[in-house]
Subunit: 213 residues, 2 copies
DNA sequence: GTTCGTATGTTCAACCTTGAACACTCAGTC
DNA sequence: GACTGAGTGTTCAAGGTTGAACATACGAAC
């Protein structure tokens, strides 16, 4: 894929919850129902994490957690840079018939600063306009009637996205949503799986000799 | 992917143009711009064809075309069955954020009978309604506000698709589009790459000892 | 006549995805 | 106290995708 969704989700999950192990990431992504639409089996997670280690974008520590060895991961400076790049690419790139990369990136919007996120969505708005022009009816392309009709669905989808994007940019500008470095207004429900992440995070931080934050 | 887009496109291309070689398929799919949105590099085509041979869904003949050996493929009865199944699955299955499988299948609509195609799209209409219900606002799912907002784009997309599908079923019922076994009303332009396919097809048929149709 | 580009036809190693399965713990229950 | 099922944490072989690169022919331009 033009947009590396799996890598982006993994890097994002590590950035949000580090220090974190593979299973925690899996649990969290499943709770977001991401496994229903992205390529996210257990193999993709553990394999992807190994790749990210090789690329120097995350580091792996094998910590001893009450007698058992667990692999926990932290993101590196290089990983943060790559994550920002991937999120920007995912937010800006309009891919034909396929919005998986965008939805994955949009789901991690809180990792970005408000102005950065807004700028990415403004670029996307522009890209959507370009796509609308490029696929305009009668713009050359000889094709059988059913194929021409199929393009109409794609165009209708794009027009809806344009409306939604314009609205979303407005909401961001007016301070809606909780972005990076801003106080968290949304309160997760009591049974939120994020609670478990926090508990495990504390333990792993302690085992790594970090100050528990 | 839940829908095996590459396999479906390959089987469909073989069904439409047999006897055909890998490069012809590539040329044709590129002319449909399929390579821009499906996974369709040369490797996927030749690799995919080998897999289909192993599965007994196409047969490979190494014919001698003026001194050079060319691999040409024909679909088998089993392949036709599988193609019908894949097209039905592609037309009926609503996948989150991703309409690649549907658009690939819709592009090959002329391989199906009018009543079969219509029934598949009616099933899809029903599936879209179910998805609309399942993702209805406030249906349980606790999630951060930006994620809830993201779902709104998906819902808007689905509503547009519903409208388009209802329209499309109507058009099919009223005899629009040229489907399997019906006289071909659309005439390709003079520079259509399909012409070349016809020429090569004749030659390969002759080399295989088939009656040129 | 040689260089250049383009079209034809295909291969392959590196990489990624899939999902079944392993190995273990812990709580409940018959 | 043995069995069952669910949760935790990970591995791996089989299969699919990527895209650069190979090999060859053919026409055009210098």
């Amino acid at each position: 894929m033009a947009v590396h969704t799996t890598r982006m989700l993994l890097l994002g999950a590590v950035a949000m919850f580090e220090p974190v192990n593979g299973y925690q990431i899996r649990r969290e992504l499943v709770s977001w129902r991401v496994d229903e639409w992205a390529n996210l089996g257990p193999g993709s997670i553990y394999g992807g994490l190994s790749t990210l280690v090789k690329l120097g974008q995350v580091v792996r520590h094998d910590v001893d957690d009450e007698g058992r060895t667990v692999a926990v991961y932290e993101i590196t400076q290089s990983g943060r840079g790559e994550l920002a790049r991937l999120l920007g690419e995912g937010l800006e790139t309009v891919t034909l018939f396929n919005a998986v990369g965008f939805h994955a990136a949009f789901g991690m919007l809180p990792l970005l600063d408000r102005d950065v996120a807004t700028r990415h969505l403004e670029v996307r708005l522009h890209e959507v306009d370009r796509a609308l022009e490029a696929w305009d009816p009668g713009s050359g392309h000889e094709a059988p009637p059913h194929a021409v009709h199929g393009v109409r669905l794609w165009l209708a989808t794009l027009r809806e996205e344009r409306v939604w994007l314009a609205d979303t940019v407005g909401r961001l500008r007016s301070g809606e949503f909780d972005l990076a470095g801003e106080p968290w207004r949304w309160v997760p429900p009591a049974d939120d799986p994020g609670r478990q992440m926090a508990v495990d995070g504390e333990r792993y931080r302690a085992l790594l000799g970090r100050e528990p934050s």
